[in-house]
């Protein structure tokens, strides 16, 4: 195919200028909302599994090998293959089967970074907290987690990136969301729709990235992020 510069701009005008693309079940607002809902649900589930597990493994040091294996495997596993296989085996009757690969591929990023964050806390800081009479749980909650927060949030951001991308791919097996424009557009060789959907997903991913960078600024303690000089 390969179109000229001008034609591609026309494609975008054609896609975004079409009023039919702005309402109804195929409309951009609803697709955007779907993509947001799947992504938030998958990220919440992944965080629910990965953060406690990462804190526990980081705090106790048990099962570190598991972390390394999970991280490497998640990188090598092809997302499309996992989505197709799981949806095929569990059926397309509900959204739940698709959420499994979304969550499974997001867990390692959060797990690894939470673990690294906790492990990376200065041992002297940890000992000082114990020395002040804090219990194991208090040390974790009041010292280790705040100091490890930048990495925990980084893990969440990387997981969100992964989820937004995988949710787009999962449109192939029938999931709603912005990926639909690419999959449906390709099926009928409607390239303006493919390009329009791609641009929407890129904007969505950038917005998510921006949100997380802002959250990192707000949530991380000034002493940890070194915005305030510590004597």
């Amino acid at each position: 195919m390969g179109a000229g510069e001008e034609e591609r701009v026309n494609w975008l005008i054609e896609f975004f200028g079409d009023p039919a693309n702005w309402s109804g079940p195929d409309g951009i607002p609803l697709r955007l909302l779907e993509h947001l809902l799947f992504s938030v649900a998958a990220l919440a589930l992944a965080a629910l599994v990965a953060i406690p597990l990462g804190l526990w493994i980081g705090h106790t040091g048990r099962g570190s090998l598991f972390i390394v294996v999970a991280a490497n495997l998640a990188r090598a596993l092809p997302t499309l293959g996992l989505v197709v296989l799981i949806v095929m085996l569990l059926g397309t009757a509900s959204v739940w089967p698709v959420l499994i690969p979304l969550v499974a591929l997001a867990v390692p990023a959060i797990l690894v970074n939470t673990f690294e964050g906790i492990r990376g806390v200065d041992p002297e800081l940890r000992d000082a907290a114990y020395g002040m009479g804090l219990s194991g749980r208090q040390v974790l909650g009041r010292v280790l987690v705040p100091v490890a927060l930048p990495l925990i949030l980084l893990g969440l951001r990387l997981a969100a990136i992964q989820i937004v991308a995988t949710a787009a791919v999962a449109a192939y097996t029938g999931l709603g969301g912005l990926g639909r424009y690419i999959i449906d557009g390709l099926a009928i060789r409607d390239y303006p729709t493919v390009l329009g959907g791609s641009v929407l997903i890129v904007l969505f991913a950038l917005a998510a990235q921006f949100l997380f960078v802002m959250a990192e600024r707000v949530a991380v303690s000034p002493g940890v992020s070194r915005r305030v000089k510590v004597r």
Partner: protein, 223 residues
Amino acid sequence: MGEEPSIWEYFTRNWSTGQPGSIDTLLGDHIVMSLLPIVAALAFAIPIGLACVRWRLLYQPTAGLVNIIYALPSLALFGVFLAVTGLSQATVIIPLTFYAVAVLVPAVVDGLRSVPEHVRQSAVAMGFTPLRRLTRVELPLAAPVVLAGLRVAAVSSISLVSVGALVGMGGLGYLFIRAWQIDYFAPAIVGIVGIVLLALIVDGILVVSQRLLTPWVRARRSG
């Protein structure tokens, strides 16, 4: 486990059929589309990384750009490039090169920064010209960190190529489309196993080459 032979059968029957969807052809395409971006990205990342270390002001904006590129979903990027390069391997190879550059630039910068200042100064004192210092001292010492980045980039690239199947260029990823079309899981398993194995082999080759290229790392550890 009565299903195992059928997966194996699917593999052997479709290995070398001479047809377009033959697994050996898909594997060849997969290797080209995943490793070409890595080679290209290394060629871009080394000068970019050098520039970032040489001119510190460049690093912040470059790191920001790298973060943005890394956040772009692969399918969307393939969709955008489909409009530019059409149905060709470039549609997959160019976006994957971007991702690999995004992984390798920080690795090159970290690697070069890990070279101790006294080593650099020793090289100057020994009369090394800047170019010889770079090729003989700095780049070799940066190699372990760069190779670690290369491993991450290569494995991600191998797994990401399969998403290209959705835009018609996915190497082994085609097997996932095939599985979905004929509603039979054997091709999907062959595809997943094939891609993970390819990733493991390439990763293994990089680990071995890291040991061969940087023997001093092991010597230091054991001694």
